[in-house]
Amino acid sequence: MRVRARRRALWKHALLVTASLLMLYPLLWMLASAFKPEHLIFSDLSLWPAEWKWTNFSQGWNGLSASFTQFYLNSFLVAGLSVAGNLMACSLAAFAFARLEFPLKRLWFVLMLGTLMLPYHVTLIPQYVLFLKLDWVGTFLPLVVPKFLAVDAFFIFLMVQFFRGIPRELDEAAMMDGCGPWRIYWKILLPLSTPVLATAAIFSFIWAYDDFFGPLVYLNDVHRYTVPLALRTFVDDTGRSDWGPLFAMSVLSLVPLFAIFLFCQRFLIQGIAMSGLKR
């Protein structure tokens, strides 16, 4: 019996290891190809470059009319501001929904939930026209300002759920001591909510860093390009002779996501398991 159980476990592990290797093979192959010279990328299936070509990276980094230094700065600026905006605006709204009483609260809450279902294509064109009138097209503002207006309602919902789990006695005690809503929000709820704030921050960063559609629509000057947009230009501009540098830059573009994977996995897994956050 024990032997059978062990053999079964062994089979299971063999299956899982094979499956995960198969799944990871494309990623590892891309990593290896980033270091290969051109003629090896297309003929060589191995995960260890037979020849190392480090210049893929320097060629790729400066392969477009602006350098990837600029693209990364742009990406991090957009992603950083998105994180800040989402955390501020969504936590303010969530606090109002979870803790304050005011007229029409239920109506606003239902409408907020309704926006979760709305595909962004529906607002796309009028928003574009609006941003065009404001003369914001071509800048980062259309990518960032909506975050400061809590348009990513999913985070509001997530935070409301979390705030509701914090005992109300804490606010009531603070209120007795003369704390207003602002201080309750700032001094009591926020410090107790670091897990949900971290989750929201991580997912906003990933979404903003990885976003392709927004930058595609709103950015038109190479010097303002974010990393995904730059990669796409790379694909268009280069013939197939440039796969080495292209893979080198592709691999580098995944580094921030991979770092999150390594260091914040707990939040990623929890965010997905508890609320179905996209990723």
Partner: protein, 318 residues
Amino acid sequence: MTAAVSDSTIRLAPPARARRLRARIDTRLAGYLFLLPWLVGFFCLTLGPTLSSLYLSFTDFNLLQSPRWIGVQNYVRMFFADPRFWGAVKVTLVYVALSVPAKLLFALGVAMLLDKGIRGLTVYRALFYLPSLLGASVAIAVLWRQIFSADGVVNGVLALFGYTGPSWISTPSTAIYTLVLLSAWQFGSPMIIFLAGLRQIPQDLYEAASMDGASKWRQFRRITLPLLAPVIFFNVVLQTIDAFKAFTSAFIISGGTGGPIDSTLFYTLYLYEEGFGNFRMGYASAMAWVLLIAIAASTAAAFLTSKYWVFYEDDGKR
């Protein structure tokens, strides 16, 4: 606690009562102050644009001239005179119908293998999840473009078995399947949701069933599936909505065209092309509304049919 507070309200001296009233007005005002950023965003960036795109969908609008009212012409053209629209609908439906079940089957299968205290669970979970985290990025689409090209990795592997494969991404009949595969490859996040769901199923149910001699398959059919139904439902709805909205990978792999010969022209790609390539913004708005209605209808259908196959554990109590 609340009772004590309301008791004392009666006995409050007038100045205190006035203060209390002011405090109440303050919290009402505070409520709106806290909600202000969201309210501005809701009216200016969500509700306003939604209504305005409904209006634009009945106009001819190219961004340069102001919108011209043309009634339902956009919709008429879409449904009766635009074969590319129907092509895009077909491509999208095929993609949804293939990628969602494929992804969820992988997710459920691997989750079942990982359940029940297998050693190294966290490592496996992380490895299977990784493609899901990275998969939506442009870099992975670039990779896919190479892997499935004429002299890419897939054909390299096939050549080992003496088979010469075509260029999968530039053959119209196969291009869409490379995208389905890319989506199925990202089964990690529904897998995590399934794992969380499986953990909720009490182990003693399985023990009791196997004591009674129920086979593994029977246990799966009679215990796992029914108890997991709400989670499956959740995943189906989530993934379906997502699949309708797929854009980036098709855009990169087809070089922004939806080609070869429109075989990967996803609905969103066509919408983008009409709106921002051809500047038919009225038409694109109409397409956006049709998409909204399609998503709303399929979600509603899922919820309506769910009562026949999704049973919640607390149903008995109601």
